[in-house]
Every structure is written in C-alpha cells, then in structure tokens.
C-alpha cells in the first residue's frame, strides 16, 4: 500500500518512547479516576489498553489527549511536554483521536467528513484522501454518500479515516470495534495493523481484549485507574493469571 505520510521526521532520541504518559492522576470531579496510570507507545507500535468495566481505560486515553484535567503526572509526545495543551493543540502536534461514539458528521458525505478531518491543514489534502480511500476501499465507493447512511463498520472506517486526515504520528482509538460484527472487527484490526506499519503509533482501548491483544505490540491491563499488568500482547495472552481474570479463561 502507499504510505500514509506523517507530519514530522521521526524523533532522534531513540530511548524515549514516542508517547510517554507517566503517573497520571486525575478525574472529572473531586474523586480521582486515574491513580498513577502510565502509558507509553513507541513509534509504529500498537498499544492496547484492556481491563474490566470502570477501570478508567477511556479516561486514561482522554487524559493523554487533554480532555481530562490531570493533577499529577506528565504527558510527553516525542520528548516534548504537552501537558498544558488543549486537545485541539495536541492535534497540531500530531495526535489523532477517534471517539467511541458520535465520531462522524452524519449528514455530510464521506468525502466531506475527510475534508473536515483535515480542517486545520492549509496544504493540498487530495493525496491524503486518496491514501485513506486506498486503505478503506469500501468507503471509497461511497464517497458521495452521507456518512450517517453507512453501515456500522463503514462508519468506523470513516471515523478512522477522518482522524488520519491530519497525518497524525499517534492515532488514538476509543473502542473502535464496539458494536460491530466479528468479521468487521477482524477487518478493522487488519487496517489498524496496516496503519501502524506506515510508522504511525496506535493507542487503543478495547473491550474485545483477546483479539486486541493478539495484534498488540504492548498491552496495558488497567484496574481501578492503575496499571496492573504491562507486557507484550503475546506475553499477556500467555500469562495464566491475566487469562483467568481478564480474558475469561
């Protein structure tokens, strides 16, 4: 496939992970949801956050994206401290975010959805649109159709495509397979692997822990807002303790 181009040259510091969110503590109201949660993703890696309901998986991701006020901890992207930036500013820094629900513009066409994804770009976006269509041929056929009329899986593809339009270096997906059929899920995971191969780091929250860990370079098991297990996807799958408690045997 053609490479989805990225905004900036890769960072020179090889040691530091591309995204490094450490010891995050914070919540919406007075009670904290995150209690010292750490997430790190290397360039081109797929990182998956799994865990039981209410573990703060989505919250952790929103914290990384600046949608949650943090009382402690740091968030660094490519070695740069971004903790003070708003979500919009983080988009400029190379982060892309796909919310779990309401992640498309339903009355706008597929193509317009992609255009809106690239709203902040001043240069020519035609190539990026073609790359997204190449990645998701199914929605390419429906480029003139309203996104709200597509099937669930295709909508998710539009949503991911919209986030890719800013040519992010880090793509964050909040439960991208929620509510889609197993076949569509496999297809979507294949696409995500493909995206990661182009050098884009992926951070995603998943309910379908087993399938997600299969494709994960690194997996984070969160429980009550803190890291319980952190390892490669393969290792987590092999760990009997993880299997028993979190993957249903």
């Amino acid at each position: 496939m053609s490479q989805v181009q990225t905004q900036a040259a890769p960072a020179t510091q090889a040691k530091e992970p591309y995204l490094s969110a450490t010891a995050m503590r914070g919540g919406y109201g007075k009670a904290d949801i995150l209690h010292g949660c750490t997430l790190q993703v290397d360039m081109g890696q797929i990182a998956v956050i799994v865990g039981p309901n209410g573990a703060g998986k989505s919250t952790a991701m929103k914290a990384v994206f600046g949608m949650l006020p943090l009382r402690e901890g740091s968030v660094k992207l490519d070695g740069e401290d971004i903790i003070k930036l708003s979500p919009q500013e983080r988009v400029y820094k190379g982060m892309g975010f796909v919310p779990q629900v309401h992640n498309i513009f339903p009355t706008m066409t597929v193509e317009e959805n992609l255009e809106m994804g690239a709203f902040i770009r001043k240069d020519d976006i035609k190539d990026t649109i073609e790359q997204v269509y190449h990645l998701f041929p199914a929605v390419a056929e429906k480029r003139k159709q309203a996104a709200g009329e597509l099937s669930g899986g295709q909508r998710q593809q539009v949503a991911v495509g919209r986030a890719l339009m800013t040519r992010p270096r880090l793509l964050m997906l909040d439960e991208p397979t929620a509510g889609v059929s197993p076949i569509v899920m496999d297809e979507l995971f294949d696409r995500i692997i493909e995206i990661a191969r182009t050098g884009i780091s992926i951070l995603m929250v998943e309910q379908n822990a087993r399938q997600a860990l299969e494709i994960a370079d690194i997996g984070y098991v969160l429980v009550q807002g803190t890291n319980r297990y952190t390892d490669t996807g393969e290792a987590l799958m092999a760990d009997p303790e993880v299997r028993r408690t979190f993957l249903g045997g």
Binding site: V91, T107, E112
Partner: protein
C-alpha cells in the same frame, strides 16, 4: 377558454401571491433553521430582526431618494439593502456578544436561550419603533407592475386579467439567488462545510480544529442577511409595519418545523407549504369554480376559512406536524 380563465384567476390570486409569500417565509425560516442548527435554540427575536433590518433599509432608502439616487424601474430599497444587512449584522453580533455567548459558555438549557431571545425581541422591537415609529410605511418606488391586468387582457384577449407586481417578481428572483448563494456557501466552501460540521457534531468539529466562535459569528451574519432580505421583501410586497413582523413569526416557525428544524432545504419547502396552504385555504374559490363548472351555483364563496384566520392555518400545520412527525417532513434535528 373558460379553463384558461380559471387558470388565470388561479395564477393571479393564488399562485403568484403564494409563491412570493412563500419565498419570503422561506428566507425567514432559513434564518431560524440555521440559528437552530448551530446555536440550538428557536430564536424568537428573528421576526424583530427582520423588522430592524427592514427599518434601517427604509431609512437609507429615504436618504438615497432625497439625494436623487434611484434604480429606475427597480425599487431604491435594493441599493439600500447592503446597508441594512450590515447594520443588522452588527446588531446581532453585538447581541450575541452581550447576551447569548454567556449562556453558551455556561452550556445553559435551550429554553434559557429561548427566553433570552424573548428579551432580545423586546429590545429590538423597541429599537425598531424608536427608529421608524409604529406606523405603516410604503417604500416601494420604481415600476409597480411587470404585467398589468389591462396589458394582460389586451395581450391574451382573455376575460380575466393577471397582474404581476415588480415586488413579487423581485421577491422570487432574489430568493432564488440568495438560496443558490447560501447552498453554494454551505456545500462548496470550507467555511460553509465547517458550519454544517458544527451543526452535525459539535464535539467532533472542535476536535477537528473548527473554531466554534467563528462558526457562530458566521451564522449570525448569514442569519442577519437572510432576515434583512426577507424583511425588506416582505415590506416591499405588503408594506412595512413593525407589528406585522411579530405576527409573521408563527408562520416562519411553522415553516422551519415542517421542514425539520436545522434542515435548510426543509425550511424552503416548509415556507412554500405554509404559504400555499394559507393562501389556498383563505381564498374564495367561487370565481375559479364559476369558470370550471358554469352550471353549478355554489351557495357561498367557497372559502374554507376567513382571511382573518390565516395565521390559524400555519398553526394547524404546525400541530399536525408535531402530532405525526415531530422531526419535520425532511428529518431535522432530533426531538
């Protein structure tokens, strides 16, 4: 021949007036529906925004007339229109800054916005009265008719005449141009698409880097433009009286809801549905029937409802839509 005569009567008394009125309602409803789509409340001040825009335009028209500037056969008000739009845009932008923005930041309930818009309606109503008074004003100059009844009779040799007033022709032409420009803006420009995106999904629009305040400002400017144009055309066609613009609020809301609040195409369709129903239901059909069925002697005027109840027609349409399709015929924002 009789069928032709019936057709001419129909065109003269039903079709042309309803088309012009429908275009005026559609322009008004477009403003209401755009504000609803972006700011998410029903703007009760819209009628008085129309009145204010029309009042400023009339004042500028008088100024131009006293300077001896005119547009020949066309009304001078067309020249004054840009001034009216500019003044109205400034007024609504100021209103947004002082009134609505506060509630937007607070994320107040829609009904609070509606109530604030009622306060704004009061103020604008007072301003309009202050500027131009409460009396009726006629400000249409230039040629009165495109076709007069006599010309038409001579031209066709028919018994019935047909009058086509300049203001009616202007209304239709301007409405078509404005609607075309608006849709071009919404569907073809980046700013217009950003407006639609914001209306579709506010949070995602923010994530995509769309500046909400800019979208809101654009919306107000466009709404001011639509309101002023609608207000001036309505005033040219039916004479200007501030109170009329309060009364026209109901048909405009009916049109916007029939079409589905937040849906611009629906607002246009809604405007014509309301206008044609209103005119058709309050028109005495006896003359048309006389040509079509020469041997039938109907007892009355064949008028379903007196003209004094024309606003009841929009109300009934509104009720029917709320009963059976609360999201409107063309799928607006959710109930």
């Amino acid at each position: 021949m009789d069928i032709l005569n019936a057709l001419v009567v129909f065109l003269n008394f039903v079709f042309i007036p309803a088309a012009a009125y429908g275009a005026q309602l559609a322009l008004g409803a477009l403003g209401v529906t755009l504000i609803y789509g972006i700011l998410r409340f029903s703007n009760f001040a819209h009628g008085d925004t129309m009145a204010f825009g029309a009042a400023i335009t009339i004042i500028v028209t008088w100024g131009l007339q006293s300077l001896g500037i005119s547009l020949g056969v066309l009304p001078t008000a067309l020249l004054a229109l840009p001034f009216g739009i500019a003044a109205t845009a400034l007024l609504v932008l100021g209103t947004d800054r002082v009134v609505y923005r506060f509630y937007r930041v607070q994320k107040a309930a829609p009904i609070i916005f509606v109530m604030a818009s009622v306060g704004v309606m009061f103020v604008m109503n007072g301003l309009t009265r202050l500027i131009i008074g409460v009396d009726e004003q006629r400000f249409d100059d230039g040629a009165r008719f495109v076709i007069t009844v006599r010309d038409f009779r001579e031209m066709t040799g028919l018994q019935e005449g047909l009058a086509f007033r300049t203001t009616q022709a202007l209304t239709l032409v301007i409405a078509v141009l404005v609607v075309w420009a608006l849709f071009w803006f919404l569907n073809r420009t980046k700013s217009g698409k950003a407006m639609r995106a914001y209306s579709d999904n506010e949070d995602l629009a923010l994530l995509s880097g769309i500046d909400p305040e800019k979208v809101v400002r654009m919306t107000w400017i466009i709404a001011a433009g639509l309101a002023t144009i609608a207000g001036v055309l309505y005033g040219l066609d039916k004479s200007f009286r501030p109170f009329n613009y309060f009364q026209i609020l109901l048909p405009i809301f009916a049109a916007a809801i029939v079409g589905g609040l937040g849906n611009p195409l629906g607002a246009i369709a809604g405007g014509f549905i309301v206008a044609f129903s209103e005119v058709a239901i309050t028109y005495p059909w006896v003359k048309v029937a006389g040509y079509l069925f020469p041997n039938w002697e109907p007892g009355g005027l064949l008028q379903l409802l007196g003209t004094e109840y024309k606003f009841a027609v929009s109300f009934v349409i509104l009720i029917v839509v709320l009963l059976f399709r609360p999201t409107g015929l063309f799928r607006g924002k959710s109930v």
